[in-house]
Symmetry: C2
Amino acid sequence: MTSVRQTPPPASSGRRGRPGYDLESVLRVAVKLFNDRGYDGTSMEDLSRKLGITKSAIYHHVSSKQELLRLAVDRALDGLFAVVDEAEQVDGRAVERLEYLVRGSVTVLVDRLPFVTLLLRVRGNTKVERAALARRREFDKIVSELVRAAENEGDIRPDIDPAVTARLLFGMVNSLIEWYRPRRGSDPTDLADAVAKIAFDGIRT
Amino acid sequence: MTSVRQTPPPASSGRRGRPGYDLESVLRVAVKLFNDRGYDGTSMEDLSRKLGITKSAIYHHVSSKQELLRLAVDRALDGLFAVVDEAEQVDGRAVERLEYLVRGSVTVLVDRLPFVTLLLRVRGNTKVERAALARRREFDKIVSELVRAAENEGDIRPDIDPAVTARLLFGMVNSLIEWYRPRRGSDPTDLADAVAKIAFDGIRT
């Protein structure tokens, strides 16, 4: 099989006997296309053209477009749920676990920006999308329960419905996908600090 | 020309001699379709099928799909810029004008939810979309300058870049399109209160 390359492929990451793209680079290019054109609006033909390799060469790595989507949204979700697990280990008050979750989520968003962007745009038309939405709802429920627990401990303002507080809190966090673009030398920790300060203590002096 | 109706049209709003849909109801159905399937993914054929009227009957009201988009995003943008004008009339400190702008924007989002949803998903592939993005950038600049002015007056925390503060502030406001669904008896003022309290004073007690 001949693979015509329109763009120079990244160096092989060592997949034996198959120079050029590995699964990771195929996935990254696919996620960029999905984000630019929409998942439904991107075909394996488009991906093949973008990579400059044949569709067969892509199917060497993944079985379908849907598998690429699953790998991508799981990359985002696994990162977020790892933070949930870590947050649960934080001793002390619920508000401290909540703050850990907010900061950790910002870091995951920054580190896995294209993957989280795709996740947050998923609409639920396919099995993979519905599974991703179910895991998102599970995450939202964890946040909401943590806000409620922190409110019960007297650390979170009681004058707003905890579900609304949780939505607004992660509305702010998730807005990063709309405007944050990594710059050389910028530190995700600074951004996590900014989000945590504003969310917990407000923008007013 | 015969117009075959698959769904009962709303009562005529008085457009003389043409019972059935008026421009406003065509626009509302179009915006719902654009939000559900994407602007690019919706054809005038789809709209005609959804409305149960011929394409010619639609072209009686608007010249093109792009004109529907323009009417829709302008509905959102005109609402937001009306709030900007009102905010500028607020005497006193910049932080008060900023709070007015936040509360007013929440109200516009709630009142014009489908229109603002469409606006916030616009990507800039057509002339109308690029014009909408330009007006959005203008709005963002106004917010950013207001945050900077309030910071200079000592009312907004100086430890975060005003541009980042502005982004996070409206990230929270705009997140409403993702989760807010109007319920009977719910009051937009309560939601504007919740957003303003959390944004300005934080979720912590």
